[in-house]
């Protein structure tokens, strides 16, 4: 997993509540057995005018000019601001994969759906929860100032505007922060507890043998 320390990035807005993972990456693209190749199909149904299917040459498809990410001013954005309950619906990890591959490293919203929130961390995509009023303000800023950027400092747990005149604190579990800051492989970390897992398992086998037959 790629490390996340400090991100200075262009901000793009997605002004809808309850954006579900079907919208983030439609199901026809889940048929891959790889972790990559999803970027061109991020928000596919909104982003293109035609209906997307795997195997199409996405570079040649007609873009929907009304979809916000297609506006030239948001090209190269790495921070997405969104509304409440972002990432609801299916557990597909293809959603964070698609966001990352498109270029996003951070999504800021007033709330996230639990599974999506979890999946982000496993891939080095930072989900930041800020109060609704703060997010409102960011939407206003993005609309008002072309080229609006934010600095997301994971170490300080802070999102701030470039001149540092305004910043907001966010919460993150210490364990997740540690993994992200150092780009750590979680499985490797867990396996340092292998003995504990084994002894737990042995006790369980004794008490509830039917779970192991």
């Amino acid at each position: 997993m790629e490390k996340f320390t400090v991100l200075n990035g262009l901000v793009a807005p997605l002004d809808r509540a309850n954006v579900d993972t079907d919208a983030i990456i439609p199901k026809q693209f889940l048929k891959s057995i790889k972790r990559s190749g999803f970027g061109p199909n991020l928000f596919d149904a909104w982003r293109y005018l035609d209906h997307g299917e795997p195997g199409m040459d996405h570079a040649r498809r007609a873009l929907n000019p009304d979809f916000v990410l297609n506006q030239p001013r948001f090209k190269g954005a790495s921070i997405l601001i969104a509304r409440k309950n972002f990432g609801c619906g299916s557990s597909r990890e293809h959603a964070p994969w698609a966001l990352l591959e498109y270029g996003f490293r951070c999504v800021i919203a007033p709330s996230f759906a639990d599974i999506f929130y979890n999946n982000c961390y496993k891939n080095g995509l930072l989900p930041v929860v800020l109060p609704e009023t703060e997010v409102d303000r960011l939407f206003y800023d993005v609309a008002s100032f072309p080229g609006f950027r934010l600095i997301v400092d994971l170490g300080k747990q802070e999102v701030s505007i470039l001149d540092a005149s305004r910043s907001a604190h966010f919460e993150i579990d210490a364990y997740r922060k540690h993994c992200l800051l150092n780009g750590l492989d979680e499985i490797g970390l867990t396996l340092t507890h292998a003995d504990k897992i084994r002894s737990f398992e042995a006790r369980r086998r004794e008490r509830q043998p039917w779970l192991f037959s």
């Binding site: 199901k27 609801c88 639990d114 599974i115 364990y175 492989d185 499985i187 504990k196 779970l211």
Partner: protein
């Protein structure tokens, strides 16, 4: 102080707690399907790791599998990408032997959340995970069951644990007798309508109260299945004699002395009387009417006696905009009576409503009637091969066929339209599935979530009808 059912299940599986409360939780049952597992097995192999305990794994192919032409074998999966996913699961299961694998074409193949309970692979007191959000279904058996992402699938394969934090407790208490024609699906939709699709975020939901105790296991599964649609990763119901009766004699359920020991333990799986819930929600079942969603989120729901809401009456700007967008997508006018919405297709199936009881209920409505001429396609897709065989023994397939329904092979089918079963742009469907998101059942398709009875009634009438009045 007393503990909730969730507290008990949690405490029972804690392997290690980190400084910030991040917990390694032991996994008893790992369910696997073809869409969210290939990258996990690949990751495992790339890292040179071995699965920890493959006898905890029960796998099936369900999302991509066709519901027709099984005679053609694997060649019947026309889409090469779908076929590759199914074949990749086959290959992974050959390499890493699971406790059980129900591949495509197997007599007992089916939707992962239907076959878990049906085979007894899901047992009370377990932690059950699957790379699928509707894993909450298994909570009907007093399991701690929740969906995980693909990285977590790999993590569970490698370590038999998930890294997670404890949720808060939310109890949804439902009391009173449900009217005939009002079902667990309607309870689920009403709960989501009242707390919203993010209402359960951060919580584990326990469904309790007289209504829930009176529900069959199938109905409890329907209810827990939809917990995720209320934002909760887990939904659960305490063990009672219904639970134990359902499990007795299932292929993977314990037998003999082990059964007695297990059952004695299972009976302890209920919240203590003095347990504390951070949040409580109540619902009066007597007041409940059959529900129909009108929008593109399960919380956009009304009763059959209502009308499509009018965004102009909504004061909150963001909500108004969401409603307008949904109505536009759904092609609906404000104030249209729900009963006047005409449908093009009907889908009875999915892990929410494809069990034998669902099929019986739908068949009872259909019997002796015929699908309306205006309905282009009415599909019944049993949840598993076992459900299908049982239904055929009872003659339900004939009832459906005689009425003009198609009787298909098991799988996820038009719940998410990864196989060939889907809506065309603009088509409107009465569906017993769980999600009405834009494009869920096919690009541009319009989904109305309903119970099996209501879907059957809509098929007959060509529009939504109040099944309580069908007689």
């Amino acid at each position: 102080m007393g503990r909730t059912l969730y507290d008990k299940l949690w405490d029972d599986h804690v392997v290690h707690v980190g400084d910030d409360g991040t917990t390694l939780l032991y996994v008893d049952r790992h369910l696997v399907h073809e869409v969210t597992s290939p990258q996990a097995f690949e990751g495992l192999k790339l890292a040179g790791r071995k699965p920890w305990r493959m006898d905890s794994v029960v796998a099936t192919a369900d999302h991509n599998t066709p519901t027709t032409d099984w005679g053609r074998g694997i060649a019947g999966i026309v889409d090469p990408v779908s076929r590759l996913q199914v074949e990749t699961l086959d290959a992974n299961m050959r390499e890493f032997r699971a406790k059980a694998y129900f591949p495509f074409l197997d007599k007992r193949q089916g939707i992962v959340h239907v076959i878990g309970p049906e085979t007894g692979a899901t047992l009370p007191g377990m932690t059950v995970v699957c790379g699928d959000s509707h894993t909450s279904t298994h909570g009907a058996f007093a399991c701690l069951a929740f969906g995980i992402g693909t990285s977590e699938v790999e993590h569970v394969l490698a370590t038999q644990c998930v890294n997670t934090k404890k949720m808060k407790n939310l109890r949804v208490t439902v009391d009173g007798l449900l009217e005939r024609g009002v079902t667990a699906k309607d309870v689920a939709l009403a709960v989501i309508g009242s707390i919203g699709t993010a209402g359960g975020t951060g919580y584990a939901i326990e469904f309790a109260g007289g209504t829930i105790r009176a529900l069959s296991m199938e109905s409890r599964m329907t209810l827990c299945n939809m917990a995720i649609e209320a934002g909760a990763r887990s939904g659960m119901v305490a063990v009672d004699e219904n639970t134990i009766g359902y499990l007795k004699g299932r292929p993977f359920a314990p037998t003999g002395e082990a059964w007695n020991r297990a059952a004695a333990y299972w009976r302890t799986l209920a919240s203590d009387p003095d347990a504390r819930f951070e949040r409580e929600v109540r619902l009066d079942a007597r007041a409940l009417k059959p529900q129909v969603t009108w929008g593109t989120s399960p919380e956009m729901v009304a009763s059959i006696e209502d009308r499509v809401p009018d965004p102009d009456k909504e004061k909150d700007a963001a909500r108004r905009e969401g409603m307008e967008r949904a109505l536009q997508y759904m092609g609906l006018k404000p104030n249209t009576p729900i009963g006047e919405i005409r449908i093009d297709k009907v889908f009875i199936g999915s892990c929410t409503n494809s069990r034998i009881e669902d099929l019986r209920a739908a068949a009872a409505v259909v019997k002796g009637r015929h699908v309306a001429a205006s309905v282009r396609l009415a599909l019944v897709v049993p949840g598993s091969g076992v459900v299908k065989a049982q239904a055929e023994r009872e003659g339900l397939d004939r009832v459906f066929r005689d009425a003009g329904f198609e009787w298909r092979e098991p799988g996820c089918s038009m719940c998410l339209a990864m196989n060939a079963d889907r809506l065309e742009p603009g088509e409107r469907c009465a569906s017993t599935s769980n999600r009405n998101f834009e494009g869920r059942q096919g690009a541009g398709g319009r989904t109305h979530l309903v119970s099996p009875e209501m879907a059957a009634g809509a098929a007959i009438a060509g529009h939504f009808v109040d099944v309580r009045r069908l007689g």
